[in-house]
């Protein structure tokens, strides 16, 4: 089933980590195999923040194969050496969990494709996000568990999207969890509720064009699809509008960039979405109770119509 939620503050910052945690926790009945956050924090915009993993969570419920923890250190060392090799300087390093790391790095090249390909050439290593504002945090468990594990409650920023996942067509693991980074574009992330029926056709076509897939989760296709459109010069909104016909199946998805948040709904409106919009805040989720978790007072909400695409700026 899965649940998605997103919010954007316009003209101010807020504790988006805490707010999104409340929204996603309200949706936990839609799935708590894994939960993911894409948080756009307040930064000085000078350095990249790279969230990456060197292994999987193999705890209860995971479909991943357990590895000797010592390989995590070996992989980390290779990452560090590759960063040096590519001229990237690690400014700050945090090892949140044995398999999950956050690096603040100084890197002056704009094209992240070569960079990402190099890092991900290390077996077992995946960049969860790369951006100057974006941080993707995803792990097994419900919203509160993931929030507590990664200490997201205090993160201040302008906007965020998140996903509570009930695994259906791919494993219970971090690589299949949402949000997906819009590789190799800085600060682009996607969450999706639904099912894409032309996944393999699109995937083969995109792989032939040099795009990368890290999982077999159909939702990843949206991130790659939009990234390919933007690579070819389309704006985010243009790419989203094209996706209404380019992607087949039922879907409601959110996409976020450094300064914007968008939603798209398939032409049959088969997946739910409730939306609240005011001058200073847009909040949306699979169910109204998600919005109520941050706006308990009586508010006006509505369901976007079939085939609707909307984009808001901070």
């Amino acid at each position: 089933m899965c649940g998605i939620a997103g919010l954007i503050h316009r003209g101010k910052s807020s504790k988006v980590g805490h707010e999104l945690q409340g929204m996603l926790q309200a949706l936990k009945h839609r799935g708590e195999d894994s939960t993911g956050y894409a948080l756009y924090g307040d930064t000085d915009g000078k350095n990249f923040i790279m969230r990456f993993k060197v292994g999987e969570n193999v705890g209860e419920g995971s479909t991943s194969v357990a590895e000797d923890v010592s390989v995590y250190d070996k992989r980390k060392k290779i990452v560090d050496s590759y960063l040096t090799e590519m001229g990237a300087k690690i400014i700050k390093e945090e090892r949140i969990l044995p398999y999950s790391l956050r690096y603040e790095i100084e890197y002056n090249k704009k094209d992240l494709l070569e960079f990402s390909q190099k890092i991900e050439s290390i077996p077992g290593v995946e960049i969860l996000s790369m951006g100057k504002s974006l941080e993707v945090i995803k792990d097994l468990g419900n919203a509160k568990m993931v929030c507590d594990r990664y200490n997201l409650d205090k993160l201040v920023g302008t906007h965020a999207i998140g996903h509570a996942r009930m695994a259906t067509e791919s494993g219970v693991d971090i690589k299949s969890a949402h949000p997906f980074w819009g590789y190799p574009f800085s600060d682009v992330s996607v969450v999706h509720n639904g099912q894409l029926t032309n996944y393999w056709n699109n995937r083969r076509a995109l792989e032939n064009k040099g795009m990368r897939f890290m999982s077999e989760c159909d939702s990843e296709l949206i991130a790659v699809y939009l990234a390919e459109k933007m690579r070819d010069g389309a704006t985010l909104e243009e790419g989203m509008k094209e996706s209404l016909t380019g992607l087949d199946g039922v879907f409601t998805y959110f996409v976020a960039t450094k300064d914007s948040l968008g939603m798209a709904k398939d032409t049959m409106a088969a997946k739910p979405l409730v939306l609240y919009e005011s001058d200073d805040l847009v909040a949306m989720g699979s169910e109204e109770i998600a919005i109520r978790s941050i706006l308990p007072q009586e508010i006006d909400t509505y369901d976007p119509f079939d085939g609707e695409v909307k984009v808001w700026q901070i």
């Binding site: 409106a269 739910p272 109520r292 009586e298 369901d303």
Partner: protein
Amino acid sequence: MANIKSVSKKTKAQAMGMHTEVLTGRTQQKFFNPDEAENFYYFGTHDVDFNKRTDLDVKDMTAAEANKEIDNLMGQGYGTIVIKNPQGKHSLGVGILNKLNLIFEGSLGYFGMGSCDGPIVRINGRVGWSCAENLMAGKVVIEKNAGSCFGAAIRGGDLICKGSVGARTGIDMKGGTIIIGGDAGAFTGFMMQRGRIIILGDVGINLGDSMYDGTIFVGGEIGSYGSDAVDAELTKSDQDWLKRKLKVAEIGENFDVSKMKKIVAGKKLWNYDNLEPTEKKGAI
């Protein structure tokens, strides 16, 4: 559960092997024996006094707890119940099978007021998906917007949304009336079998797709017609009915109904030609 027994007298359709059994039993007797007046009352329903009024704050209750408390209050004879702080909870007010004046001060989540038969309900907010699904009788008024599958499979009663509604409004409806003050999404009236839908605003694509019967009236623009949905002549009788209905519904009272479009089933998808007329009725 109803019993199943064989019947000796065969209709033409049964002779053709289309039917060999009929349903009988307690369920049938309860609903269709007019000599047994008590059978017209559902088990577990309540006689209530509309003048006896109370408030119920459901802020810290689960949906099940709230519904149980509504039932308790009806058992105490309360005929007017005001629900405070529904805050988008799902499945509130479901399964009310007696007369009741129910007011929600706020919005409901999914499946609100499902499977009801008789209550008069006013919701001073919006509702999520599948509001008033399977409504048998009564009236449900939503002051703001509604989600998809609004009035799915209703069999009777009036369902009114003063704002806009999502996709598949009136899907599989078998009776009753749905009135929308704003716009409606795609597949409105999808597979509807009876009843009427009135939309004062615009409506999305595939209007009335695969509808078997029933009527849809549209005041605004139509995105596209669904399979087997066709235009029909808007008669004087239709206009009179629309005016009356909109007035009673307290919505669009001054709306110019003479310009509304009337959409019905083209009946090209019907598969009832082999049935007796009485069985056609039963099948619908």
